[in-house]
């Protein structure tokens, strides 16, 4: 390990192309719907037009008579055993509050019936002929009024919470907690300044280009095979076993290439529907979500309202942070109890010197689409609130917001009380901010420049952190075997969703085994054969599964030496493995890896392979600084992105190209969240944001220029010093852009998205 870290890196830290690149850029058939058999039944879901209702009657007779209709399933056909669709390690913190189909529908778009047939046309026709009689109930649509509302979203008695997260379905509560350190009230009382503000972030769609999709079939052994666009194959296996009330050994989940996930596919949104059809009919089935379904019945970011009280002395020393978060989990509790935690645990610790903090939250059920996991997972929301409050403090103090941060930011070696008491063993946040300021030309541009044409350009700053996996929970395991001619099979359960983990984990293995990338083959996940991995989420793969790769390679190297020594007839203590051959240092005699691989396959009593797992007691945070330059039209309030400078400390950068693209992509998603993206409901709970016309994600004309650099610290517990990169990168745009608007035109927008209308209205005040 020590040797691997300090030696010169050959493949890690190099911008190699992704191992699957050629298939992707030539449009090969590698995604779920490309692979589905042509005889799959087409599965569609009839969805509720009401935000809250009880199904009193479903008449399917006319629909079933349509030629080609195979089955129509209603709540009467589904197990009455609640489960969660959240892809989390068992026991899931998310409550077991779902049925595949329920008599009670809880949002406009909730599933009311499942229809399967031999053609799209037949299924669509049948859907129109199903007659559902609803008893329409009053919905809970305002999340401020949800807690202890007499209308309950989940009144049922078989609702179940597996973990002590403070949930109570009889109060519409999905989670509740109070945590803290020090006497926050006393500290804030003695502060010279207290910023006391409320910030509001909206639900956002991950909007990955490939919508939710799954196909299923029974194999030779009568087992349910599930091929799905998922980030969490092993969790999907459990979720389907729970949902269908069948043993886990009956289910196999395979993950092909995925067209993006960003957390959306950390919830089992689409799998249950074809699964139950195949299980009931024995026939292959598939569901392909339309974009409309993906925007109205999916798993968007939790809407949160955050009340921040931030106290400081007159020199600008931040002394205390008190945060209350109200989170809207919608109709079901997927990721409700966990996303909210990050809103405090990954925002407050940015300010290391604070003497006290308190973090309180409520997560409530309402009758809108269930929220889920989206890149940043609550940290994005909390960082918008805390970083905006810090920017407001800077204004009150008359201080440059970057100077205020330099004074207060967490530094390497500091203990972070609000981050589970962990120590920042690797932290280059100070260098990140310094470099970002240089890149944008902060000192020349702060606070703003009037362009003389009715437009003002302002700069704004924010910092961010995230984690690297869920400490004490996430597990990555890896197996590597040596094949004939000595090539290696790298088997992982981590799910590449386009991010490139198949590539970066291969890079790590090639580095550890002193071989070329081409000597290693890697494949997608198959729960029957891949080693267990919780999946790709929570910024865990590089750090957690990466460490599992390193551990596995260490074991394998030892075994290769032992086997080589055995074939050479010498002691393992006397040999050395240079990646190509094992050499007896006493005689100079050697045996090649190729020869070892071939001999292992002939008259061998032991395979040559290694299998190790890794789980971490800590979750080292990556850090970053982002500075936005925006141009505001004083007449209309339109905000245009000009430039974005981002500097990231993700520890050692495993693949600079992939890390850069991750960062640029995250920033653009963050720009979308900051300026455009909003899921809008009408007064009856109908979702208006049901296409890319209404739900606008940034195009290449909307994002200005984005520049990314890395200032690496070295994480002693990570593979080659690496931490995570995937999520942190979405966290700075909202507060940085808000600060840029503040610095340009003096208005502070505390509710996202910061549309021209909101900026204009504030400017008129």
């Amino acid at each position: 390990m020590t040797e691997m870290k300090t030696g010169k890196l050959r493949i890690v830290n190099r911008p190699v192309s992704k191992v699957d690149a050629h298939a992707l850029v030539t449009g090969k058939a590698v995604y779920t719907n490309d692979l589905a058999p042509s005889d799959c039944l087409i599965v569609k879901v009839l969805r509720s037009p009401h935000a809250h209702a009880l199904i009193r009657e479903i008449n399917t007779a006319r629909a079933e008579a349509i030629p080609g209709i195979e089955c129509i399933l209603t709540y009467k056909d589904c197990p009455d055993k609640r489960f969660t669709m959240a892809g989390q390690t068992y026991p899931e913190p998310s409550p077991y509050d779902r049925l595949i189909l329920d008599q009670r529908v809880r949002f406009v778009g909730d599933a009311a019936a499942i229809i399967a047939g031999t053609s799209e046309e037949a299924v669509k026709k049948a859907m129109k002929l199903i007659k559902v009689k609803y008893e329409v109930l009053e919905p809970v649509l305002d999340f401020h009024a949800a807690k202890d509302n007499p209308i309950l979203v989940h009144p049922e008695d078989n609702w179940k919470s597996l973990c002590p997260v403070g949930a109570d379905n009889k109060r519409n509560l999905c989670a509740h907690e109070v945590s803290g350190s020090g006497d926050i009230d006393a500290v804030l009382d003695s502060c010279d300044y207290v910023i006391d503000r409320v910030y509001h972030t909206k639900a956002n769609q991950q909007a990955m280009m490939e919508t939710f999709r799954t196909y299923t079939y029974l194999d030779t052994y009568g087992r349910l095979n599930v091929v799905s666009s998922t980030q969490v194959p092993f969790h999907v296996r459990r979720i389907l076993a729970n949902a269908l009330d069948i043993p886990k050994y009956k289910v196999r989940v395979v993950k092909p290439r995925i067209g993006g996930g960003f957390g959306a596919k950390q919830t089992s949104v689409s799998e249950v529907y074809p699964a139950i059809v195949t299980w009931k009919t024995g026939k292959p089935a598939k569901i392909i979500y339309t974009r409309e379904e993906s925007l109205t019945a999916s798993s968007p970011r939790h809407e949160m309202e955050m009340h921040v009280r931030l106290g400081a002395d007159k020199e600008g020393n931040i002394r205390g942070i008190d945060l209350y978060t109200l989170s809207n989990t919608g109709a079901y509790g997927e990721h409700g109890p966990t996303t909210v935690g990050l809103s405090g645990h990954k925002s407050i610790p940015l300010y290391g010197k604070a003497e006290a903090f308190r973090f309180t939250y409520d997560v409530v059920y309402t009758n809108v689409m269930s929220a889920g996991a989206y890149r940043g997972y609550g940290a994005t929301q909390g960082i918008f609130a805390v970083e905006s409050a810090v920017n407001e403090l800077a204004q009150v103090l008359g201080m440059d917001p970057t100077v205020l941060r330099e004074k207060n930011m967490v530094r390497e070696g500091q203990v972070m009380p609000a981050y589970y008491g962990e120590t920042a063993q690797s932290c280059a946040l100070d260098r990140c901010l310094e470099r970002a300021k240089e890149m944008i030309g902060w000192d020349e541009k702060y606070p703003c420049r009037d362009m003389g044409n009715g437009k003002v350009r302002g700069v704004g700053v924010a910092m961010a952190m995230q984690g690297s996996g869920i400490s004490g929970v996430d597990t990555g395991s890896v197996a590597i075997k040596v094949n004939d001619d000595g090539f290696y099979s790298l088997m992982i359960g981590a799910t590449d969703m386009g991010t490139g983990c198949d590539t970066i984990l291969s890079q790590m293995a090639a580095e550890c085994l002193d071989c070329d990338l081409e000597d290693i083959i890697v494949s997608g996940v198959d729960t029957d054969t891949s080693p267990y991995d919780c999946g790709s989420y929570a910024s865990s793969t590089t750090y957690v599964t990466g460490m599992a790769v390193v551990k596995t390679c260490e074991t394998l190297r030892r075994k290769i030496c032992e086997r080589g020594a055995e074939y050479l007839g010498c002691s393992p203590a006397d040999v050395e493995f240079d990646g190509q051959k094992v050499t007896d240092l006493k005689t100079g005699e050697s045996i090649s890896r190729k020869e070892i691989g071939n001999r292992v396959m002939c008259s061998s009593n032991q395979p040559l392979s290694a299998n190790e797992a890794f789980s971490s007691p800590t979750s080292p945070p990556p850090f970053m600084a982002g500075i936005a330059e925006v141009e505001i039209d004083k007449e209309t309030g339109v905000v245009e992105m000009i430039d974005y400078a981002a500097v990231v400390d993700c520890g050692t950068v495993v693949n600079p190209n992939l890390a850069r693209v991750q960062t640029e992509g995250g920033i653009v998603q963050g720009i979308g969240m900051a300026l455009y993206e909003d899921i809008v409901y009408n007064s009856k709970g109908k979702n208006y944001s049901n296409s890319f016309m209404q739900y606008k994600i940034p195009s290449r004309l909307d994002v200005g220029n984005i520049r990314v650099e890395f200032e690496s610290s070295y994480e002693p517990t990570g593979p080659f010093g690496a931490k995570s990169i995937g999520e942190i990168v979405i966290n700075t745009p909202s507060p940085a852009i808000s600060n840029a608007i503040q610095n340009a035109v003096g208005v502070i927008i505390r509710e996202l998205p910061m549309t021209a209308e909101k900026v204009y209205r504030e400017m008129q005040k």
Binding site: V25, M209, V661, T663, E664, G665
Partner: protein, 164 residues
């Protein structure tokens, strides 16, 4: 109805209802590179060429290509591989789901515009959404590809794309 058209230089016949869109017919004929991302002509994933011009196949009735020439990424694989190496060289294919439609429009742009500048490139490709990359890596790939082409044409050594 039965429709006949030229698909990737080959004469093909396909069955299509009056309301069948070209996207579905192409996928049915095995051109799996053609992806559907939105159904509302907002994302650019289903971009193909009809008579050499970029079109969104989700909004073209299959019947209307009767007698026309349709090209998908499968029909320009050599060029896709060549440009794709530059895209991959930046890590800018990411999930790859938008890559076929994007590459079709990039190749159409190279045919239509001579040495386009950054603003022209952004304008031309504005309809091709990508949720992974933030667009910057795609732009770098296009610029490096154009540079390599220019150097090749002028006999100077071009930059090697792909794995380094």
């Amino acid at each position: 109805m039965e429709i006949q058209f030229v698909l990737n230089q080959k004469q093909v016949t396909a069955e299509a209802a009056a309301d069948t869109v070209l996207l579905d017919v192409l996928r049915g004929l095995g051109c799996k590179s053609v992806k559907c991302g939105c159904e509302t002509t907002n994302c650019g994933l289903c971009t193909v060429w009809i008579d050499g011009k970029s079109r969104l196949s989700c909004s073209v009735l299959a019947a209307s290509v009767e007698g026309h020439e349709v090209t998908t990424l499968e029909g320009v694989e050599k060029e896709a591989t060549e440009f794709g190496a530059f895209l991959a060289g930046e890590g800018a294919e990411q999930c790859g789901f938008c890559s076929p439609g994007f590459i079709m429009n990039v190749l159409a742009m190279f045919r239509e515009l001579e040495d386009p500048g950054i603003d022209q490139i952004k304008e031309y490709l504005a309809g091709n959404l990508c949720r992974c990359t933030g667009y910057m890596g795609q732009l770098r790939a296009i610029q490096k590809y154009m540079q390599a082409k220019a150097e090749k044409n002028s006999g100077q050594p071009g930059e090697e794309a792909g794995a380094r």
